[in-house]
């Protein structure tokens, strides 16, 4: 899952980015409104964390512009402005959630997960494909009774596929959601990760879940 953080307070932005990365999110960071606007326009994110008081262009203006142009990315406003008027203005500008600074990081993470679930019309934080269980809260994966241990990137791939069950996901799309804009790796590395995932999830089971679609990409589905 790839998150865009738009926050002008450098120490907070750095710390947020570090914390989210440790939680297995891919993070792009923008320190002002202009940069944030540009990144959101040119990349596809699973969620955006938006500060409101930003130099150059303020958060609400950017948000309204996105929504006018049809950008559907879930947006969580993270701001020091706490009056009911400001919360209403934020939500009515098209935000999906609103969190006031100072905040608890756990709460922010929970709200992000909820945003992503909502985006995929899910209620249960545990994703199920046949006997494959993915607990998005603890980032743990089971096949039947057996826990499967995955690397961070492997987990991210299987989670992303599980959020889109039965859909064909191209390598580019996977790459877009797993690597930040500064990454220089190629999409070949996706194939390597898929290869490892197959070994861990499908190898010892008769029912194969990860499918390769020729000329398309990958899909997680029951036949």
């Amino acid at each position: 899952m790839k998150i865009l953080v738009i926050e002008d307070h450098r120490p907070l932005a750095k710390s947020l980015s570090k914390g989210l990365k440790e939680e297995n999110y891919t993070v792009d960071l923008a320190l002002n409104g202009q940069e944030g606007h540009f990144l959101a326009e040119s990349n596809s994110y699973d969620a955006i964390i938006l500060d409101l008081m930003l130099p150059e262009v303020d958060g609400l203006t950017i948000l309204k512009r996105w929504r006018q142009k049809g950008n559907q990315t879930p947006v969580l406003i993270l701001t020091a402005l706490d009056s009911p008027d400001q919360v209403v203005a934020g939500l009515d500008a098209g935000a999906d959630d609103y969190l006031v600074k100072p905040f608890h990081f756990d709460e922010l993470l929970a709200r992000l997960r909820a945003l992503i679930r909502r985006e995929h019309q899910r209620k249960d934080p545990v994703l199920k494909i046949s006997d494959l269980l993915i607990d998005t809260r603890k980032r743990k994966v089971w096949r039947g009774e057996k826990e499967i241990f995955l690397t961070a990137k492997e987990y991210s791939i299987i989670e992303y596929l599980a959020y889109h069950p039965g859909e064909v996901i191209s390598r580019t799309e996977l790459w877009d959601h797993l690597y930040d804009w500064a990454s220089e790796t190629t999409s070949n590395v996706i194939d390597v990760h898929i290869h490892h995932l197959r070994k861990k999830i499908d190898q010892s089971y008769s029912k194969k879940l990860i499918k390769t679609i020729k000329g398309g990409g990958y899909a997680l589905k029951i036949d």
Binding site: P11, K18, H104
Partner: protein
Amino acid sequence: MPLKLIKVKSLKIKLIIWFSALLIAVYLALSLYFFLSHRSALYQKLDSELKVATLSLIKNLRMEENGVLTLSQNYLSGIDPAIGFKIFNHSGQVIFEIIRSEVSRERENSEKAALPEIWSSLDSLGFSFADRQKNPPTDNYFFRTRKSDKEHYWRILLLKTTIPEEEVEERNNEKANELPSVIYLVAFKSTRPIDEELETILRIIIIGGTAVLALSFAGGLFISNRALKPIQMISSTLKNISASNLKTRIPSGSYDRELVPLVKQLNDTLDRLDRAFERERQFTVDSSHELRTPLAAIINILEILERHPRSSEEYHQAIDEVLELASGLQNTIEDLLILARLDAGRSPLQLSRASFFELINEAWEMVKDKAAEKKINFHNEISPELIATIDIQKMKRVFINLLKNAVLYHRPNGTIWARGQQFNDRISLEISNNGPEIPPEKIPHLFERFYRGDESHSNAVEGAGLGLAIVKTAVEIHGGQVQVRSQAGLTSFIITLPKI
């Protein structure tokens, strides 16, 4: 106890009273003029009647040989029967009298006894013997109004004349010299018809006055209601304006010219209030942002640090970051407190004599470490004799903030100067640097609270953008002002203080 005038507080009642008073005054003046001129016309008419009757009487008078005056009988038919006559001879005796029914009726009606006295002698008619002796004017008419009793007035004509000479000579040649050639003729008529007419007029005036008074009250009420209506409209608009709704304005188009300045003043006041509230609101928003964001960063850094075991290097780095943020937060809080105290006037000026040279040197001590890092030079060129009465703590804060800013935004190896000048009525102090110029569009905002030249709110350690706001407020409390000049490679903050 002295009589106190009742103070009328109602504008409406005042308007009605003034309106009615004015109207009544005009009415009374007009009535008085009419009454007096009418009265004088009536008297003139009466006088000329008396005069005409007198002239025609004289023409018809005949002096008998025995000195008795006789009148041709047909004369009386042509003369107003209400006019009576009496003729006195030179020595004041009545020699002739005509009193006919009209006159006697007037006399009957009043107290009979009181009547004759008035014209029984010439003296009582104001035509004394002494007057008669002294070069008496002949053929002059004198008119008098005399009271015969309590309420009965008569108009009296007095004429001193002579009987025409030819007639006397014709009839009695030898005795001519003995005849009383000079006579005093008195004609009189009751003024009752005039008095009655004037009384009627007076009654009409009084009735009319009552009507005018009633009308003027009604009119005053109408006018005052109309005049006060826009004021009521203004006040009902104002009633809807509260602290949360300061955007409403009194519509200025629909008012009369006289009320436009009032409406404008009220709207201007509302504008100022609105701006003040807006500034206050912005200040609250800014201060909550400036306090909460670093706090959020501190909490976030610590929370994330706690989630996983870290290397000691990571811990040290986090501690440094948090300390830096905390000290930035401390600075912001200090500055906010200083500003709040300055605003509330809770820290009154503690004035004492101080030398600016020493004060600025002390201020430099606070920033010289930072300046040394950037190898910035400082020249204090203020004369040690420049002494003024100031609040030392507040002025020191002013110079610390100005010098801190000068160091912060300066380029390495730059120079900072402090200069001072004394004028008759003021002292001018200047902190200048040869660093980068301030863009002209930023200058008007420099002293705004939470405004930062570089517009990024990320320099937590460098303060929250309150330094220059404190400078401005502190200098203004001293009755002075701050100006900024940034041109030709030199940026100067100029403080002007009045000499106390």
